[in-house]
Symmetry: C2
Subunit: 600 residues, 2 copies
């Protein structure tokens, strides 16, 4: 029988109509001679009523129905009795009196209920992902994701962008995260690499004159996993020729506005999206991805505290560091000494040595360090604007420690104090990034974005030397939403000599540069246009628009935190013949208890 | 400067307007004090005119311009002199008199001309793919491909389909082609596999209640390559719940019509798309993907020739084989004895032992075997409808040899005789396939489509035994266009017991079935809906709509026939440290001369 309607969309406008429905039994109540079944499909739930009066055979079928059976029915839409109306359902005013019914599939008892807000382990949810995805909140999450891509295709297709696929079996290149490798069967000892992004290919497509490229592209990074990372993830990837940074940002704004409208029906006011220079963002928020849904900006007290009686402050300034603070409004009485101790412990990870704080009371500043700051109290209150009842949290250290510490405390305390307007969509552009950043762990300079980022025009003379290059700033622009980096964009280098300077400043010899990127360098000698682009992270965007805090909630079949997929148990051992064909010797997998791998 | 127009789109409607253009120098003619430059962008070409009168500085810049330089100009659109009009260009009636100009990038001499129809090796084109893609025909090919996906997204998004991504790091499963493997760093000896299709995942998504899924999905097969195969390829993949085969075919028809309209502006008449049963297609055309742009159907002469004096025919019938023929209209005088000998040699690959033929002349049938057929001549001409001037080509052998032979000869001779209407788009559905087919090379029965294909309802009782199952037919339906298989679809098995019977008939033990597909079998116990779908091959569809004969022409960065990518030279050797991290031992790659690998 052909379905006439989705169950969840039937309402009183269908009264007296005969409908054919298919879906799952959400629940069943047998009142003896009268059976009610909640029928669920992807659009929601409708109540079915079975009785001898409505359909004798159908009643007999309903007696056999159990939760999660797949059924098909034909019936007539009728009003519910006044007392039986359910205002929480679109279909809550009606029921379908069933004339005929059929069971299409039976079902065992499911390992968890098919409903929102279940309290079961992620591992169980992933093992039975096809059941987990039946739950309305997961249906909604994946449909929001689908709407993002639909809006993206619609907007970009209508704005002259050409959807071009780039290879997934690509070349392993240095600079970046660890590659996933794919052994070649034909060339023993040779490997393809799964791409970490389509970056080089899209630049070559600009070199090929396509002018406007886009792709919803999978990317792969073999990194250590954490909550918002997956071995594979999806980029909404665009590239344009002959456009300035400002023109690209404007176009992306319109694209994002189209997404916001289609997914969450939000009218994004593009004119209100702020642009912060990177240095400004770092100074005011301690991070390059500030959450602008709330204030609590970092207050620079370095000058004020240079001669502080509190040695920690004075010493920090003397050592070339900073003293900064945030004001947590109304938090003086909220946080106990113990709470603050916990914060102090938390920020040790950033290198902070203790947490100085003050509470503002009617009596003035109080707390362990108050006695050292009596002479500064008036200036401190004036400069920070702290009011009675507020909590002041300080960081005094090198700039990077101060920034990380106060960024963390700002977000943590704002959340705890419910100072974040969860209904806001706070977009921001961060521009004028450093071209390089120093990596202390590896004691070397790496690209702040990637090695193909164009320096500022004014900084091009700096590129002649490695030391100069490390001081240059970049034509790059990141899009931030609610404290998350949504996307990272830049104008690209399109001239070989600048690209060579860039690679040289990264420590590449001429030969190493040729080996890794020779095809790109040569391409640039054949007339490459000025170009720029951006890639938005689809997983993160979907997570934010769905109001979730883990990207696994918006991916149909994600890997768990150990990189395995508990349903299929991938990765798995493979037949010896497969490895032999690849000329590979791999360790014996039998030493490892495969199913246990999947447990968290 | 912000571009105001694409060069190729300017025509006389822009007269006297000032335009800013960017693009590549297609060619340059210096007439001394007057320089003409053809400026090319992705939309086409416009003529620029430089002179002291129009712009003194611009003229000086134009003197430095060379082919493939990237330039930016501002100028005024003016009529060309009457004698200088070029009717082949949209912009052929106008030129842009340049006021100011700038060189954005210089270019070396390119290894081939940036123009259509170049005669250089595929290898050179792939090595400099970014130049090859500048050529208008390649621009057009990739834009047709982009229009197919745009039409697909638009149609499916508007018809309730949810775009859901499935993993590329998946599980290796038996039954199918060879997998590409991806070693796991975290689990030594374990491997992900790149998916050969999203088949199982999309079935699980139907089990999850999404009702309508689609994905533009990359798929991977490590097979030996040939003209229309690539290691990675793209499927337009859809799956639907609760729909019959007829309903699915109808929906796909509308989708394909939307694609045809958007890409080649063709109004596809859905009602005229024929549906052929598989057995009928095999009988009439000798193939399951008949080219219906022309007739020349296979004529079954088995009954007529059972008692033929020509021993080859009589023996074939006696041995349980067939005698069939095609009539090639007007070909009697076209093919020489030598041509026919070549055909005979060609069909040896199908097991054909010689090629019997007749020419129809005013004197009747002629040719080496004519003397054996004198008594049959009248019946033969009556049955085949052969006319004076026609050529009759025969095959007499087992059914599969006859089918392959006459399919090949039908296509070959029709092409040679120009009997194919190249303007036609001949779609057809092929239905009612066998569920299994016997694989003589491996001496075993394999799935004609894949192991998840639903048998015909009437054949379900056959599934109880292996022998019975091998006789069953399937609810499967392939879409054919101009003799190519565009897509392969089927209703899927949604009940565990049928799936177990299917795997058993393929030779899986219970344990092997559990190991490979346990998650799917278990899923089916939790209430899976009836479902079906199809995957259309994007590469092949784009190739056909672009009028090309190799899918490499519609892929931006394809692999060559040896599976390498000549531009980046992937696959390549990788750092030893990378292999060590993966716990892999691979053969020394240095034994192989890497650059040579890429040569054809």
């Amino acid at each position: 029988m052909k379905r006439t309607n989705y169950a969840g969309l039937i309402d009183e406008s269908y009264l007296e109509q005969t409908v054919t429905l298919q879906g799952w039994v959400q629940k069943r109540r047998d009142l003896g001679g009268l059976i009610f079944v909640d029928l669920r499909d992807r659009e929601g739930i409708v109540q079915l009523a079975f009785s001898a009066e409505f359909g004798q055979d159908a009643l007999a079928v309903a007696e056999k129905m159990r939760t999660e059976y797949v059924i098909e029915i034909e019936g007539v839409v009728k009003s519910r009795a006044a007392g039986a109306v359910n205002d929480h359902l679109k279909s809550g005013k009606i029921e379908v009196q069933v004339k005929s019914a059929q069971i299409l599939s039976e079902a065992k008892t499911t390992p968890f209920y098919i409903e929102d807000g279940i309290n079961v382990s992620d591992e169980l949810r992933l093992k039975y992902r096809y059941l987990d995805l039946r739950r309305p909140e997961m249906q909604k999450n994946l449909r929001i994701r689908s709407k993002i891509t639909a809006a993206t295709h619609e907007f970009l297709d209508n704005n002259g962008f050409i959807d071009i696929e780039t290879p997934y079996l690509a070349k392993s290149t240095p600079e970046g995260a660890r590659d996933y490798l794919v052994p070649s069967r034909v060339y023993p000892g040779a490997f393809y690499a799964l791409p970490q992004s389509p970056q080089l290919f899209k630049q070559l497509l600009m070199g090929a004159g396509f002018d406007r490229y886009y792709q919803v592209a999978r990317a792969f990074r073999d990194e250590d996993l954490r909550g918002d990372r997956q071995p594979e993830f999806t980029q909404l990837d665009v590239e344009m020729s002959f456009m300035s940074q400002a023109e690209i940002m404007d176009l992306v704004n319109h694209w994002v506005a189209a997404i916001m409208k289609k997914t969450v029906d939000f009218d994004l006011n593009i004119a209100e999206i702020p642009t912060l220079e990177w240095a400004d963002a770092m100074a005011r928020f301690g991070t390059d991805k500030p959450d602008l849904r709330f204030g609590m900006e970092l207050q620079d007290l370095t000058a004020l505290m240079a001669d502080s009686e509190f040695g920690v402050f004075a010493n920090a300034v003397q050592n070339g560091g900073q003293v900064k603070a945030i004001v947590v409004p109304g938090a003086a009485s909220h946080f106990s000494r113990k709470d603050i101790d916990k914060m102090a412990q938390y920020i040790e990870r950033f290198g902070a040595k203790g947490l100085a704080w003050l509470k503002i009371t009617d009596e003035g500043i109080t707390g362990p360090i108050a006695k050292f700051l009596t002479t500064k109290a008036a200036d401190l209150l004036a400069q920070t604007g702290a009011q009675t009842g507020d909590l002041l949290l300080f960081a005094a250290d090198q700039a990077s420690v101060v920034a990380q510490t106060l960024d963390a405390l700002r977000r943590m305390t704002a959340k705890e104090m419910k100072l974040i307007d969860e209904s806001k969509w706070a977009f921001a552009w961060i521009t004028n990034w450093p071209l390089f950043e120093y990596q202390p762990e590896e004691d070397r300079w790496i690209s702040a974005h990637h090695p193909f980022t164009m320096p500022n025009e004014a900084d091009l003379p700096l590129m002649a030397t490695t030391e100069g290059a490390h001081k240059a700033h970049a034509q790059s622009y990141d899009l931030v939403l609610n404290g998350y980096e949504l996307g990272s964009g830049s104008i690209r280098i399109h001239r070989m000599e600048i690209q060579e300077q860039m690679l040289s400043a990264l420590g590449f010899t001429k030969q190493a540069a040729q080996d890794a990127f020779g095809f790109l360098l040569e391409g640039m000698e054949f007339g490459f246009p000025p170009m720029g682009g951006i890639a938005l992270g689809l997983d993160r965007l979907a997570m934010l628009l769905a109001g979730r805090d883990n990207i696994r909630e918006v991916i149909a079949f994600p890997k768990n935190s150990k990189g395995t997929e508990p349903m299929t148990e991938a990765p798995t051992t493979v037949a010896k013949a497969q490895l032999a064909e690849l000329n590979l010797i791999a360790p014996a997998y039998s030493d490892i208890d495969a199913p246990n791998m999947a447990e968290e």
